[in-house]
Subunit: 340 residues, 2 copies
Amino acid sequence: MKKEPSLSDVAMQLGVSKTLVSFVLNNKGDEKGISKATQKKVREKVIELNYQPNQIARGLRIGKTKTIGLLVADISNPFYARIARIIEFYAEKQAYNVMFCSSDEDENREKILLQMFRERQVDGAIISSTADNPEFLRSLIRDGFPFVLIDRYFENIDCNYVVVDNYQATYTSTNYLLNKGNKNIGFITLSPSHISSLHERKAGYLGALNERKFENKSDYILEVDYSDVKKRNYQSIKNYFVKNNELTAVFITNNNLAVAVLKTLKELNINVPNDIALMTFDDIDIFRITTPSVSVVAQPVDEIGKHAVSILLKSIEEENSQFVNKILQTKLIIRESTNK
Amino acid sequence: MKKEPSLSDVAMQLGVSKTLVSFVLNNKGDEKGISKATQKKVREKVIELNYQPNQIARGLRIGKTKTIGLLVADISNPFYARIARIIEFYAEKQAYNVMFCSSDEDENREKILLQMFRERQVDGAIISSTADNPEFLRSLIRDGFPFVLIDRYFENIDCNYVVVDNYQATYTSTNYLLNKGNKNIGFITLSPSHISSLHERKAGYLGALNERKFENKSDYILEVDYSDVKKRNYQSIKNYFVKNNELTAVFITNNNLAVAVLKTLKELNINVPNDIALMTFDDIDIFRITTPSVSVVAQPVDEIGKHAVSILLKSIEEENSQFVNKILQTKLIIRESTNK
DNA sequence: ATGAAAGCGCTAACAT
DNA sequence: ATGTTAGCGCTTTCAT
């Protein structure tokens, strides 16, 4: 790799100081009273040499890298991929760049990746945390490292977060299914189950059942290992449906899992919605074009990304800004899969 | 943000030199003959202070950031999201991090983003280029900036790339459809059409038709604007099917586009595969669970990502390594959508 | 077995 | 209107 021209190359060739060149390039030329003529000379030389400022050096000097870290379970999950795109969009508007990492829902990996982000001096991070014991988040707060949680938060940790009202979402959805006359409603979710969003989704489901005095059979709740879904091992799902064939509806807490369930039902020759109604979290493309199309709880993905970035950047740029907590509402979209 | 402890904090508190601490932390303690006892002291102090090396400073000093850039059209396209995940996986193994950007198939954006990558001193980049006039890639080569193209390459630019045999892929697919007795086979692709992969896919389709002496009506080829797909404006697709209702099969060159077509066909009440057979590029989850499931040309995504990283890192770490060109084979996966 | 000092490329306070 | 200089936190050569 050829050596790139540096500020001093530009300065030297022009017979001026680095300071001057730096001022001009940072648009402080007028403010600092650099003559128009000199400014022009500088800009021309920059183009001639194809000089590109070294942002690493700049970052070291000013203590900011204009980079933010994005830490999610899996960047290839359409929900997170979509969020990544939105985050990129808003970050770029303010000249920030984004670095991503996938934790694979592994708490230990999450810690390591976060540490890596910090060593690389990202100015802050957007995190979908998988932590069960989020002590390490406390230490981020103690150090004043700016971050905002998305999708999941922790009751006993006071920090920035942007989440949706998961309880309300599944409470409403379950009621919808009950009102359609379903008496045996299954619930399929992911483990690790300590994750706040999953936890609350389950609570919303149970809340709706209890309120209507429906018994909630524990058999009707299935927790599938994240790693099984990743490895496409759907045995537990198959067993679940074989065993609980009196179910008339099922709610699924995550898009990946819903895909797994749809595949399994297809294999088992169980028809949606005639044999069983189906509803899931996450409005991704796929659910609009399946036959039947799938009723979903849509998260306001754009809003999540937008708020996450704006809260983070505020947190980075203003010392001691207050923590902000944003709880967004979801939207129930009814399609064919719940239409018996 | 609290000031982080630095190397000299560690050194000072221990009453030793920065050099020594640096040696120990870079595992050169033994080689440099630092006594075991001192090494132990250093490591303990590091933990006590929770010292985290500043990789920006390190990067400036050694001229490497251990970061690679990933530039694609849209990180939220499942094909690219998947590749991103793979690239992350292999990069991490060698202690590299990845920064991503989406060009939106905009050549000018691509140039700017690439420049930004260079200013941020990424050690190299993996690029799915949208360029029509790829002169700026030549200047990367001139500067010795390491990069590898994926998905698309340029005939007259000698550089690293990892692509699939697109001609063969559509040639085989079209022949499959012809053998099934289809006489009027449509072809729906994206513009900008100069992109090598799209270009070759079209050539493969035409090649198969010509060989069998089938006339290729230009009406049967539809080019949809990338921006229309993004904006979910499917009017041209609708018109196409209304106009060409003698089609018995259609091949689509990209997953996003296929989703758009499936939605449109559903709206128009055109049944797949009874009214029309359908086949597309890219084996993403969605196509396995639709009814009917969709026949696809599967790209070896894992292989693409794996090779891209390994070629790039080699290119970064070895001066004057030869350019390598990898052309991978696709796999035709037949599902229900072509089963009349 | 350990340290001093230079320098990566930049910014900014302080000259002049 | 422009220049000198110190220093961000690290690595590494050369001393001792």
